[in-house]
């Protein structure tokens, strides 16, 4: 039993190392997603109809189609249309960020709407321009209510980033598949991958709880 385990150990390490790849994709994408999301959310609460229309359209497209298709279009489709071949990494980050932006924008829009109307009025009465008001007055107050949903989005992204294995990135999922194929063992490698995802998400949830506590002080 022990010998069997020792024989399998290098494979376990090989799979677990995929966590770094998975984390890299999800964290970078959630950061870009946040930037896109904030931008779209501000468009969504703007007074200009065309801007709202654009932001709503963007969200409906990215929420209404599978991420796998979006990634395929960006990685396989774009080279045909515009003749630029994106690398696996760029294609993955672009697809995940654009997709995540759509979800994050809805989270932030709800957060902005949760801030008391009086705050907007006070800012207006004090002559604070809209952009400054959003950045310094409204968003800092919204962040408290939206933090749990943002963490949820990061967790989703960690799991959904498994799709990147389809275009050949050596993430957790891909590594588990490789080991499975090599050893004809389809149980243990997948179990190792599942445990790695689970632990990653557990750590992130704990960190988020701590952050939430600090913010609510």
């Amino acid at each position: 039993m022990f010998e069997q385990f020792m024989a399998f150990l290098p494979s376990i390490l090989f799979i677990v190392k995929g966590s770094i790849v998975t984390l890299k994709y999800s964290i970078i994408s959630v950061c870009f997603g946040l930037i896109i999301g904030v931008f779209l959310a501000i468009l969504k609460v703007s007074k200009i109809f065309m801007l709202r229309l654009f932001a709503d359209f963007y969200t409906s497209i990215f929420r209404g189609t599978p991420l796998l298709i979006q990634l395929s279009i960006i990685y396989f489709g774009l080279p045909i249309v515009i003749g630029v071949k994106l690398g696996v990494f760029s294609a993955g980050i672009i697809a995940f960020s654009l997709n995540s932006g759509a979800y994050v924008s809805e989270i932030i829009r709800a957060g902005i709407n949760s801030v008391d109307k009086g705050q907007f009025e006070a800012a207006k009465a004090l002559g604070i321009p809209e952009a400054l008001m959003m950045k310094d007055i409204i968003l800092p107050q919204a962040i408290r209510t939206i933090l749990p949903s943002l963490v949820n989005e990061l967790i989703n992204l960690i799991k959904e980033s498994a799709i990147i294995s389809m275009i050949g990135e050596m993430d957790l999922t891909k590594r588990a598949q490789l080991v499975s194929a090599e050893t004809f063992n389809f149980f243990a490698p997948m179990l190792v991958a599942a445990a790695s995802y689970y632990i990653l998400i557990l750590i992130i949830s704990k960190l988020a709880k701590l952050l939430e506590k600090r913010l609510s002080k």
Binding site: A122, A123, A125, L126, G127, I128, D136, I137, Q141
Partner: protein, 240 residues
């Protein structure tokens, strides 16, 4: 100082404010009273463009208020709200200095000095570093008044400044307003009659979006001419 000409504000098909023309002279303290839904807050909020009037014109120092010059003209107008609307994530000092420094480009050290002077004048010098949640209602409202005073306004608008306060704290606000009296034009919307009687020079009584009475303080309380105003005074008589 301020001239309103035929101000109307419609929500859907209902008039909140109907055809109101008024003149406010410099350094006058005016209370607009009336029951809730009488349109008094809406009228006040039209003056600094928090609400855009459906029709009619507003002149501030003979300059017509439009959405273009709104920002410049409204610098002369400070506003205090019923629920204070302090920024909860900024401390008292930053609440006062945020807009002058970041939006109006004033120097930090000058602005902070000015803020500290104001806070001292209103008995808040111990509270510089406190956050709004640690202040009492009366303190919050005084901070809100100081914040509105940071731009040296010529006009102060008060929207129900005492409604969210306990009765025993209202004298704080009366004192604060007395400090400013005759130094600027103050327009105070309130349904607190005793308060109106104590602080105002002139009383405007509104009902259903119309002005039913516009008299000097003395005249209004001693011999109210309008029947509605008399009824209103009699109804609230036992509360005052």
């Amino acid at each position: 100082m301020i001239r309103l000409e035929k101000i109307c504000k419609k929500y859907n098909e209902n008039y909140a404010v109907k055809d109101i023309s008024l003149n406010f002279s410099a350094n006058e303290t005016i209370c607009i009273i009336g029951s809730s839904g009488s349109g008094k807050s809406t009228l006040l909020r039209c003056i600094n463009h928090l609400e855009e009037a459906t029709s009619g014109q507003i002149f501030i120092n003979n300059e017509r208020l439009t959405s273009k010059n709104r920002k410049r003209l409204c610098l002369k107008i400070g506003m205090v709200f019923q629920n204070f609307n302090l920024f909860p994530h900024l401390n008292v000092l930053d609440n006062l200095t945020y807009s002058p420094i970041n939006a109006l480009g004033m120097k930090r050290n000058i602005t902070e000095l000015k803020a500290k002077e104001l806070l001292e004048r209103f008995g808040l010098s111990q509270k510089l570093a406190s956050f709004p949640k640690d202040l009492s209602g009366g303190q919050k409202q005084r901070v809100a008044i100081c914040r509105a005073l940071m731009t040296d306004p010529e006009i102060m608008l008060f929207d129900e400044p005492t409604s969210a306060l306990d009765p025993e704290i209202i004298k704080d606000i009366i004192e604060a307003i007395s400090l400013l009296k005759a130094q600027m034009t103050m327009i105070i919307v309130t349904h607190h009659i005793k308060f109106a009687k104590l602080v105002s020079d002139r009383i405007i009584f509104m009902d259903h979006g119309l002005i039913l009475a516009d008299h000097s303080n003395k005249e209004f309380f001693e011999k109210p001419r309008s029947h509605r105003a008399r009824l209103f005074l009699e109804n609230v008589g036992d509360l005052t």
